[in-house]
């Protein structure tokens, strides 16, 4: 059992949990994820680790209430427990000093992006972060992102905060005004697809982090398979990060709708 130490609402549907998981806190690196089961009879779902505190023995998870299982998790309160949290799983992000890195996150994807922003900055990169959401209330973790970014660009669909427009507009602004060595994108599959198309045009190496359907998360079931560079790969053990230009996002989006 994994105790919830604190619960904060970013918005009505987006919740930040700090969960007691000392072994995971110690071994996790940016890019890793965990498999969470809210209760007995619950589904196993993957959630990327947003932060960890080794001393306190906790990890931070940001959950968007979008279905049965995320709703069960979001309904839990401080002091209650998640039945299972297992990890850290997947391959950690390769952090190098490459020069200028644009980190763009959409919606709840900003949460797993945060540790990468932090690590990229600490590795000596110039970090420009582009945060995007439908509307002002859905922009999360802005303050924390600012603390590790040289510049933050906010994009909202409705123009209620920052600039009006899609994440790709924000990213393209940066590309047009200065040399960009790498892009990291985490968010909805459709967003990552368009970011990938944009950066392919400019030939900028781009990493994406995929959040596919999983069951065990340790390579056993193959539910998470995606086509990367024409080959079938497993997100849980080969990923979750891949070269975005090589990912077949259309196939991935079809597979994400397997149970809809």
């Amino acid at each position: 059992m994994f105790k919830i130490v604190s619960k904060d609402l970013f918005s009505e549907k987006v919740v930040k949990f700090v969960v007691e998981a000392p072994m995971i806190a110690r071994s996790r690196r940016p890019g890793h994820f965990v498999i969470v089961r809210a209760c007995d009879g619950g589904e196993r779902i993957p959630l990327t680790i947003a932060d960890a505190d080794v001393k306190a023995g906790t990890i931070t998870l940001v959950v968007q209430d979008v279905g049965v299982s995320t709703h069960k998790i979001c309904s839990l309160n401080t002091g209650e427990e998640l039945t299972d949290v297992v990890g850290p799983l997947g391959q950690a992000t390769r952090i190098e000093n490459v020069g200028t890195v644009v980190c763009c996150g959409g919606g709840v994807g900003v949460a797993p992006l945060l540790p990468i922003i932090k690590a990229m900055k600490q590795a000596g990169n110039r970090v420009v972060s582009v945060l995007a959401a439908r509307t002002k209330d859905l922009i999360i973790l802005e303050e924390q992102v600012r603390a590790y970014s040289d510049e933050v660009i906010i994009m909202t669909d409705d123009g209620s905060y920052g600039q009006k427009g899609l994440v790709t507009h924000g990213v393209e602004q940066v590309i047009l005004r200065e040399p960009v060595n790498q892009v990291v994108t985490i968010g909805p599959a459709i967003m990552m697809k368009f970011v990938s198309q944009l950066t392919a045009k400019y030939n900028i190496h781009t990493l994406c982090s995929l959040n596919t359907i999983m069951v065990d998360g340790t390579g056993m079931c193959g539910a998470c398979r995606v086509t990367v560079d024409g080959r079938t790969r497993f997100v849980c053990i080969d990923g979750p990060e891949f070269d975005a230009h090589k990912v077949d996002f259309d196939e991935m989006m079809l597979r994400l709708r397997s149970y809809n």
């Binding site: 072994m23 995971i24 071994s27 089961r37 009879g41 619950g42 589904e43 196993r44 049965v68 299982s69 069960k72 039945t83 299972d84 949290v85 297992v86 990890g87 850290p88 799983l89 069951v215 065990d216 340790t218 390579g219 056993m220 079931c221 193959g222 539910a223 398979r225 995606v226 086509t227 079938t232 497993f234 053990i237 196939e251 079809l254 597979r255 709708r257 397997s258 149970y259």
Partner: protein
């Protein structure tokens, strides 16, 4: 070890009561008794539920079947058993009404008799060597009797050994891990089993369905291990949550890796990533481990009306029979060779056929076709014929040119084998790994290239049976115990 076992087996044969049992009945009478038939649920009923198909023998049936055993002076069945169980020894104890001793004889060499009595391919092992074959009669039903003894014996209180305080870690709680843990606990070690999933039991829980191996049977074994002091830690992936070095810091002096065959194989044919095409591991895990399709469980699973299962092994049989129980009206097994080459147990094939599964042998899928939503709606299959024997000794399937047909299906379960789980091999770079991704061990001791790491089961064999995995666990325990005893 084997020689000692052989001596034990012939010594116990000379017990007075055994001699009496042999003299009580003439060979003619014995061999005239027909082999017992396993009582089982009727096909129509069993596809409507997940109840165990085989019901087990009654006491009377078991005693009669046990009396068929000739108690041979040089019992060949024992040499057909991968762990050399004293087969006549336990069978004759059933005959004289001492099920408790029969179970104890089994437990001398097997950690999981109730499991092996159900899932071992006896027809290819012990029963294939039975003297009755020479008389052109059906062999003694050794598997049924093993199950009978294991199910009906009271659980003997494990004699608590003196703890020696030495900490041992086990990676994985499948058959290899459980049998290793049990043996080490009996030697007095402080054993902790780490399991990546939220349930203990490995493939016995996520893989083999309830109708073939009820969870209660596995839980009984796990409970017995807990009673003997074995600790279990769920949700912990060695190589991820804790590293090899972490295990040392925690004071473990020996590690047994039994992390199993993780990665499902696919065939790399067009359309394999369509929605509702999945591995048998995924399908069986959703249903068996996650309870998909039953109330109070959130995990979804595809409910195909017309399913194809690709492959001819036991996992394929488990998948096709599960699909029938999950409501599929039509289920095909698509296998590229003929039925004679099928690796699945004969009993599973018979059960599957009784349950209405249709076998498309000498067929091989070459493409899956999807609808506008990316869901599989048909498969294209190539008809095959048997050619010359290949490296496996079986006649190789060869495509018949032009013989391709398209069959509508709305679910495909790919069951063409698994590769070893890569997590341990990739997290300990110094560990010697074979080209197939298995951990290289000394065949006798199960010791890996790193002195304190032993390994067994599918992570070493790539894909084997419960009994071989269990045998590995016991062998590894014996040699690790010897090695650690020398160090002290």
């Amino acid at each position: 070890m084997e020689q000692i076992n052989k001596d034990d087996i012939s010594a116990s044969r000379n017990d007075i009561w055994r001699q009496q049992l042999r003299n009580n009945m003439s060979a003619k009478e014995r061999t005239a008794i027909p082999r017992v038939e396993m009582p089982h649920l009727e096909p129509d009923y069993r596809v409507s539920c997940s109840e165990e198909v085989n019901c087990g023998l009654s006491v009377e049936q078991a005693v009669t079947e046990a009396s068929r055993c000739m108690d041979c002076p040089d019992p060949q069945c024992v040499s057909g058993c991968p762990v050399s169980i004293n087969i006549p020894g336990f069978i004759k104890n059933i005959q004289r009404g001492r099920v408790d001793i029969a179970a104890a004889v089994l437990r001398n060499t097997s950690s999981l008799p109730a499991v092996c009595g159900r899932v071992c391919p006896q027809e290819k092992q012990c029963e294939s060597r039975c003297i009755y074959h020479k008389m052109h009669k059906q062999p003694v039903a050794i598997g049924y009797l093993e199950r009978f003894a294991a199910d009906n014996a009271p659980i003997a209180d494990a004699v608590a050994p003196t703890p020696n305080g030495i900490k041992i870690a086990v990676v994985g709680s499948g058959p290899a891990g459980l049998s290793f843990a049990g043996a080490m606990a009996q030697y007095g070690y402080d054993v902790t089993v780490y399991e990546a999933l939220h349930e203990i039991g490995g493939v016995l829980k996520y893989g083999i369905p309830e109708f073939r191996l009820p969870n209660s049977v596995v839980d009984k074994e796990i409970h017995a291990l807990q009673q003997s002091g074995v600790k279990f830690l769920r949700d912990c992936v060695i190589g991820k949550t804790l590293s090899y070095d972490d295990l040392h810091s925690l004071g473990y002096q020996g590690i047994f890796v039994a992390s199993g065959a993780g990665l499902p194989r696919f065939m790399s044919i067009p359309g394999e990533n369509l929605v509702n095409v999945m591995s048998s591991n995924e399908y069986l895990t959703r249903v068996n481990l996650m309870g998909a399709g039953s109330p109070m469980h959130d995990t979804p699973v595809a409910h195909g009306k017309c399913a194809a299962v690709i492959g001819g092994g036991n996992t394929a049989m488990d998948s096709c029979r599960t699909a029938r129980r999950m409501g599929a009206e039509k289920v095909y097994v698509v296998y590229r060779r003929s039925e004679a080459e099928m690796p699945a147990r004969v009993e599973e094939v018979i059960h599957a056929k009784e349950e209405g599964v249709e076998f498309l042998t000498l067929h091989n899928p070459i493409e899956y076709i999807g609808d506008d939503k990316g869901r599989v709606c048909a498969m294209r299959v190539q008809r095959m014929e048997l050619g010359e024997p290949d490296e496996s000794g079986r006649r190789a399937p060869v495509p018949i040119e032009g013989a391709v047909e398209q069959i509508p299906v709305d679910m495909v379960i790919v069951s063409v084998g698994v590769s070893p789980n890569p997590i341990i091999p990739s997290s300990i770079p110094e560990l010697e790994i074979s080209r197939r991704g298995t951990i290289v061990v000394n065949d006798c001791t199960m010791q890996s290239s790193i002195g304190d790491i032993y390994a067994g089961g599918d992570i070493v064999r790539g894909g084997a049976t419960v009994i071989l995995a269990m045998g590995d666990g016991r062998r590894a325990a014996q040699s690790m115990h010897e090695a650690l005893s020398k160090q002290r």
